[in-house]
Amino acid sequence: MTETGIGASVRRKEDKRFLTGLGNYIDDINVDGQTYAYFARSPHARAKINGIDKETALSMPGVVAVLTGPDWVADGLGLLVCGWMIHSKDGSEMNQPVRTPLATQSVQFVGEPVAAVIAETLEQARDAAEALAIDYEPLPSVTDLRTAVGPDAPQIHECAPGNLCYEWEIGDKAATDAAFEAADRVVSIDLVNNRLVPNPMEPRAALARFDPATDEITLHTTSQAPHVVRLVMAAFLNIAPEHKLRVISPDVGGGFGVKIATYPEEAVCTWACRKIGRPIKWTADRSQAFLGDSHGRDHVSHAELALDKDSIFLGMRVKTLANLGGYISAFGSAVPTYMYATLLAGQYRTPAIYAEVDGVFTNTSPVDAYRGAGRPEASYLIERLVEVAAREIGIDPAELRRKNFISPDAFPHETAVGVSYDSGNYEGSLSMVLDMADRAGFEKRREEAKGRGKLRGFGISAYIEACGVAPSKIAGALGAGVGLYESAEIRFNATGSVTVFTGCHSHGQGLETTYAQIVSDLLGVPLENIDVVFGDTGRVQMGMGTYGSRSLAVGGSALVKAADKIIDKCRKIAAHVLEAAEEDLEYEGGKFTVAGTDRGITVPELAFAAYVPHNYPLEELEPGLDEMAYYDPINYTFPAGTHVCEVEVDPDTGEVEIANFVAVDDFGRVINPMIVAGQVHGGIVQGLGQAMLEECRYDAESGQLVSGSFMDYAMPRADDAPSFEVALQETLCPHNPLGVKGCGEAGAIAAPAAIINAITDAIGVRHLDMPATPEKVWAAIRGAGAQGTQAAE
């Protein structure tokens, strides 16, 4: 390992601009003649729209245009479609309500965009939007998941009887039923995976411009996947053909899944900028982010575990209601199905699993991927169930897990829910983390705390996830509408510097540094001579973007493939220049040498030779040194690990202090340990937020979003979190060239169960739903309100 290559904690190249206020976020960008868009949004959870009178708004100062859903339809534009088809148990396709970016006949959630007002200033646009006369006819609404599937719930969409989008299943029902028949013990749990608002610190924004000279639209947008936005706008929204649409995601202040889908606001701005012939800028304020961003999680589940007399898992049954919101978001259908239930084996050998997931419509914001996207929901459920089982049986929770782990020599392991885990050492992670957390000394610490009137608890969370989305054929067979390969181009300049073009996108992940490390390591180019470019469809080849922890597993693999092509070409040039046979050349760290001699040539020198091809095999080889590769993953990757949490609860106030939190993760090969640790820290605190603080809440009666700002939605602050101890294990991924698995989502997946397991251990209750606020903990200690025994329908 070199100081700047793979495995080094190189300080980030991108930091300079962020630290000096020179970041290029979309709201920072202004263009001549720009107008401002403000969206009038539904104040009702569900309503008919009987008409919109534009007259007053149009007459207000500075107003350039007022655009509505009917205007969109009249211009022949398309629908916001879901990118993943799910089939129900009976084979029928999921029920898909039609959605245009601006509502036409009805609205389905508070905050749904209904009209766009475009004016010379933001204030003028906002004033006119408030004056827009929209004739709403409010209808009965339903926001709660369980109520929505009940007999008295209003029918939100005609196409979805019982408010069901789909009734999906996975696994072998008969085998699972048989396992439960044969069981010596069955443990069951009812739990909620609470709805979250992801809230990256930068709100969504868009800036759209039309150039009449070239008929080209340039859209700046806060997207994790600009090429996908371009594809959707061309193929489904019919705004412009792909070759006339340039989508640029410059610096983006956090994504976490919120910024994957193509949103109404950016679609409208892209359409409208050509219609009105002026650039249009839109930036969400935080209230609009709460209303308009896709939300996360929101499951209600009933789960059962069947065990034999030796506490070995025989089978597992899960029934989950998943809230999809008022419409299906771009990937919202897949998150609670293929990204959730396929992980229900966890780290265990459980031979029979059967899961049913009902996707439910409610009058709430659409729900889509949020850091972990389905895997936090799966992991939380399994690890709560296992913990409850251990306590019911009276066996050490670590021991129960050990008895049921897939052993390190049993890979590849095909689970009962259809995925094949490639490699792992779950026993190793568990032992390591328990040692680091001094679990052996816990009971003593518990006693000592008791003496101070405090309650201590210890919680384990053994997680696994599927990352590196995804093999295109598998994804396609499961219903995905897109391929999930990635691309990379490595372009040398004549003077030896390199520009790397990647179809991934960095919005915090540090790809400008880690990708440069890889190229530096493989091709021997100094780090400062490597530039990484992403996020601009005008400069970068097709790519699928960044989410699902794929930038290294898939994006990095494309990079290695491109580097291999560079090395292959260089070998040929080197053979010519050094007058040696290719087989006689050795290659290491950017240099070719003739075996057994000290004659050699470096890659940058070969680049010069390629661009000034005087001493060059022109008969066999084209000039230039610029290679591109596309990589379609062979399988998902399966990072896994164990996180543990020790809490101390004040029984008088219900306040929970995290006394210790230790994480051991196996991400395969790690390119930059410092960046990886940062990803784990960030994920853990998002998990902590879910477990202890955050709850997106709608009023049951009115359907209003009650938690609509940072006043009411408890974001984790620095003093809500401890410092962490994180460590890595490394079992290489066997099927990609770097052996990497991905790390971005692990913390958010593992942390909730670790924390809830610790709190329930501390206060001696069977279960407590998230968020475990002081009020809830206090009440639970006093036995108020039975937890975990309500049946989910």
Binding site: G21, M201, G254, D285, G508, A677, G678, G682, S709, S723
Partner: protein
């Protein structure tokens, strides 16, 4: 429309603003200093922290006209002659930023924190950061950055 005059990063500036214009919009739109960010609408997130007359202030919670005659420092003015301020350097060295959006406000709050305390410890830093949200880092490295930056500012 009133005209407001102040010093920003050592330079005298003057511009017409509406009475209701917030300081953060004045900095971003009138002066083109887009390093100070807007992350919320309830004064909680801290992405807009600047220094006014030597103290940390949330620029979203102050009117531009209230800064008449004041000495304002933003993130753009922290580095000198291309050299990073010790606090900026500490954030870089300790990986105290990921997406960078909270970073200007975080760094300005950190400098102010270091100015007000002879010595900082983890507990104090975490408490003092209650007005600055970060969604990316989980705060772990921000705390390390601030402790290191404060030490460096004192010439340690």
């Amino acid at each position: 429309m009133p005209t407001v005059s102040m010093t920003v990063n050592g330079k005298a500036v003057s511009a017409e603003v509406e009475n209701r214009t917030l300081l953060v919009y004045f900095l971003r739109e009138s002066l083109g200093l887009t390093g100070t960010h807007i992350g919320c609408d309830t004064s909680q997130c801290g992405a807009c922290v600047v220094h006014v007359n030597g103290s940390a202030v949330k620029a979203c919670t102050m009117l531009a006209v209230q800064a008449e005659g004041a000495d304002v420092a933003t993130i753009e003015g922290l580095a000198t002659n291309g050299d990073l301020h010790p606090m900026q350097e500490a954030f870089r060295e300790n990986h105290g930023l990921q997406c960078g959006f909270c970073t200007p406000g975080m760094v300005m709050a950190a400098v102010d924190m270091a100015n007000r305390h002879d010595e900082l410890d983890e507990k104090t830093v975490r408490a003092e950061l209650s007005g600055n949200f970060c969604r990316c880092t989980g705060y772990h490295n921000i705390v390390l950055s601030i402790l290191a930056g404060a030490k460096a500012m004192k010439g340690a």
